[in-house]
Amino acid sequence: MMKQLTIAVAGILAVLFLSTCWVGAAEPEKDTTFSVTPIGHVQKSEERTSIVLDKKHEPGLLGLEGFSHIYVFWWFDRNDTPEKRAILQVHPMGNRENPLTGVFATRSPMRPNLIALTLCKVVSAKGNTIEIESSDAFDDTPVLDIKPFIPGYDTAENATVPEWLEKSRKTRESKETNTGPRR
């Protein structure tokens, strides 16, 4: 309940903040404001990471166990302040050696709408709980949506990334043995 409230309040604050600097053609679809409500939360222990959905959403998991991977949409709730949501450029991965980059060109948790997206491997799906292989989400992070991952639909086979990302990814991989989802 607190989480829902926090997101709604932060949304209102963000609207108030943004509406003061938004000068553009007033189109209805541009100015729509809406709130999101968590469908569940991340539950993390030393052994496992799970997504626990609110009981009422459990029927929505029917057939999910057939997928090996899912897209999980979370809310970067730790950055839910108008100041942080106003940041539009960052040094990716908190490394000053990475050039200052637009937030929409990074997976940074700094962004106007705090939607996080991670592709996760499903370990098991039982009842209202999906155990996933690994995730960089914190314990108790609000979850907004889950979508099945469908290769061929959601993948770009010849996708390329800028040099700075290739470089920092290689450095990072050589330091770590765990190659789970990162941002």
């Binding site: 949304g11 963000a14 938004w22 553009g24 189109e27 679809e29 541009k30 100015d31 729509t32 404001t33 809406f34 709130s35 999101v36 409500t37 959403h57 029927p59 929505g60 998991l61 029917l62 057939g63 999910l64 057939g66 997928f67 090996s68 991977h69 899912i70 897209y71 949409f73 450029q89 937030v103 929409f104 060109a105 997976r107 962004r111 106007p112 709408n113 939607i115 997206l117 991670t118 592709l119 491997k121 907004l144 949506d145 889950i146 979508k147 099945p148 469908i150 290769p151 061929g152 639909y153 959601d154 993948t155 770009a156 010849n158 996708a159 990334v161 800028p162 040099e163 990302l165 989802p181």
Partner: protein
Amino acid sequence: MQPIGVIRSSYREAKETPIQGVFSGNAEAHVELKPEYAVGLKDLDGFSHAILIYHFHTSESEKLVGKPYLENEEHGIFAIQSPHRPNHIGLSVVRIMRIEANRLYFSEVDILDGTPLLDIKPYVKQFDSREDAVSGWIERHFENGQQPQGVVVQ
């Protein structure tokens, strides 16, 4: 949340919108960011693809089970990509064509004109694709290399 911009495409109605962007050929569309967000696009042109996250604004219903376009069987809403879902969040992987000021032009479009945009993320294949992925009930529609019929939302 407030949209960061709007998506402009040639698809005015759901029934003429391709079910997936990979089926849309060379059709081009663009994102029109609110001008103050344009600085957030810096260096996105170094990526070939982007993930657009948007609001399924025409959906008025929120369901927990639904029938996907490929078949008549019901599945949980989190096992299909239907717009009639809690929070109405949509996702598309698109090919970046060019960026001009606050406009991001892209192809591989499956998004309705006027759709409110919530976020843009760079597509990074190490994060966003898996070679060993298995796709549940959808697998049988792709057997023997076949491409499913009916590429438009019914």
